[in-house]
Symmetry: C2
Subunit: 448 residues, 2 copies
Amino acid sequence: MAAGENSAARRRVLIVGAGFAGLNAARALAHAEVNITVVDRKNHHTFQPLLYQVAMAVLSAADIAQPIRAILRSPNTQVLMDEVVSFDTAARRANLKSGTVLEYDYLVLATGSTHSYFGKEEQWADLAPGLKTIEDAVEIRRRVLLAFEKAEGEMLESGSHPALNFVVIGGGPTGVELAGAISDIAKLYIRKDFRHIDPASAQVVILEGSPDLLGAYPADLRASALQQLKEIGVIVRTGQRVTDIQPGYVIVGEERIDSVVTLWAAGVQPSPLGKMLGVPLTPKGNVIVDDHLHPEGHPEIFVCGDLAHAMSVGQHVPGVAQPAMQMGDYAGRTIKVESEGGRMKKPFYYFDKGDMATIGRASAIANVKWPFRAHMSGFLAWCAWLVVHIFFLIGFRNRLSVFRNWAFTYLFFQDGVRLITGSQDLPGWGAGDGTDPIRHLTTRPLEP
Amino acid sequence: MAAGENSAARRRVLIVGAGFAGLNAARALAHAEVNITVVDRKNHHTFQPLLYQVAMAVLSAADIAQPIRAILRSPNTQVLMDEVVSFDTAARRANLKSGTVLEYDYLVLATGSTHSYFGKEEQWADLAPGLKTIEDAVEIRRRVLLAFEKAEGEMLESGSHPALNFVVIGGGPTGVELAGAISDIAKLYIRKDFRHIDPASAQVVILEGSPDLLGAYPADLRASALQQLKEIGVIVRTGQRVTDIQPGYVIVGEERIDSVVTLWAAGVQPSPLGKMLGVPLTPKGNVIVDDHLHPEGHPEIFVCGDLAHAMSVGQHVPGVAQPAMQMGDYAGRTIKVESEGGRMKKPFYYFDKGDMATIGRASAIANVKWPFRAHMSGFLAWCAWLVVHIFFLIGFRNRLSVFRNWAFTYLFFQDGVRLITGSQDLPGWGAGDGTDPIRHLTTRPLEP
């Protein structure tokens, strides 16, 4: 039984994925004379740009995630927590995991991307978790915090502990943000909490395969980011391809780098749902769409967000939040126009306001393109980052909560969500051979 | 190597468990000339009286849990995230899971209690989770919210869904609070979120084995609680012993009651660490302590909180938060006095200020004994409950956060943490046989 059976005349819009693109498509249609069904595997939308702050104990999951139902309350919208397992694009049907079959007149596919371990998912995924979901964030938080706890315990028992090396694989915005945040935790927020280890002895290493950190940014901002990372003690090694990940260490070429916690920020691959459409894909698996976001031969399908390979004014549209929102909105508006008997003439145009990435507390880079053009660095860029992210967060309540958490974290040096939940095991703890040159063992006596 | 090796003259105090008793013992000793080691399996203290609000999507985990290290910052205190596996009370040593051996001059054992499934842990624990930890709370939240999602999906697919029966086993304060909160979610907070099911059709049943709900309260308050539960539609069945729990239903005598989510609030058993002391226990396993909280023959050991079987002025001290705090504080003060060469003359005295339990939104019962004696019910009792719990929460930041969350939840009917994380499976979903008389199937068309 398909959605909208009660009003056969209305077009049925199926939106798969409630990320930035999917949500914005649904919102653009909130007052349209259509019946919308939104399908997502999760019950919540995740504000991914702040996910690393959940991983780093600054924010709670609920600060950046909201039930999709609570966001999409329009009476023409129904939300299903389910998973698409296949499409029959000829019959315009989607088959869900639960067995439900949904018919559609329009399909908006916006299922984004997932981690790519370059074919080594099975071996590497557990050793080096990536950051895409709330569950990922809580797992990373658990591992990072647990490393300090284990070091404290081992120091007390044996007088030494494995070097607190944290290795972040991948030097894009996520890698840089994770690295900066681990450094903040170690050097600022838990400084006074341990008696036997010196958390500030922690060493964060970014391994980037390409020659440049933050390759998408202009050269002056890349240089500034490198400098800012250097100032907070993060080691950046570019042109270093990781060839193996093992419990307790990673291999780069001939070199072995000990690692108590390894994090993956190196690559993503498109959601497998793109393949199910039976349309032309890029070699990586992104769905090639025309300037109206349709895959070849399917004017009733829109592919939005980073699953799509789209062009705007001759430029490839990047796979980040801003264009995803705009693509979703464009798809929604197009469907609205068509449902009213019109035709969308304007092709999709990506209005690029710029990009920003934080580098730990009070430092960032921003490549501002609107409302003025500027390359910003350091504290100013960081303030801009704070304002923009509060603005784009969904819901007054969440804004309030994030604002409060940031105030406590940045003004009072208190991170607020330092909870270790789940297992007490850390894969590969102590499996390093201790030969790493950046080993620090610092004992502090129990009393002053 | 034991704590305090740098100052052999100082007494070494080992506190096991950082619940209310353990924390208060450490705090009473914060300025004493002793070396304190606090060992807990978790890195955080959990404010258990509000745990059910985490399970019920009102509060975030971080609102009611704080890193033990962040609470106990005194320079004479070290915190270890570890687990005691055995004691050698003759040698005054504790053996930890990590292999560390801790010597002590004083031991404060405050490891509380855990769920008791009356010997059926293996069969029942997964089918009917109890509520003791943050992990438990997140799991209960997942199950309760998932039941509504699954019902919505099934309604769309097949036009019917299993009755949304939630069975709470146990009619003590936790059972009543869980039942009331599920009723709130179904009838108030998610009312407008679904298109196909009517969440208000959910039916909450409390099964209590003894003849009385909330047996520890006076008769008039028990009656009031029953009345208040009736008003919000919770079915209370007392004198009903559950003989079996299966996926999708529970058995009471000859009767089978369908249940999409079964929760366990029926019984606790003392932590197994009590047995390891080799001292007299109650049949249930609580450590029998004298009027100075010492187990027989061990003036250097204090057992505090609900692991202890203690008497105060001829009355059994109940296993709740208030006496746990007072016992911890008493143990700490005693050690302080003795470390200064004195002797604690006064026995432990439980100063009972009363008890309270909430029954969903805006209703509660309170048996107030201090600063005045009163039996309060309904809205007034609920206001008192709010004030007391904000007051006892640890940390200004958490108080602020809980206050904000309550304001949104109770003023604006928005629960804030409605996240389903982890698996999408619900044990026993749909395994009921549908014969239950309180089955409701309500279809609402997609459009008005």
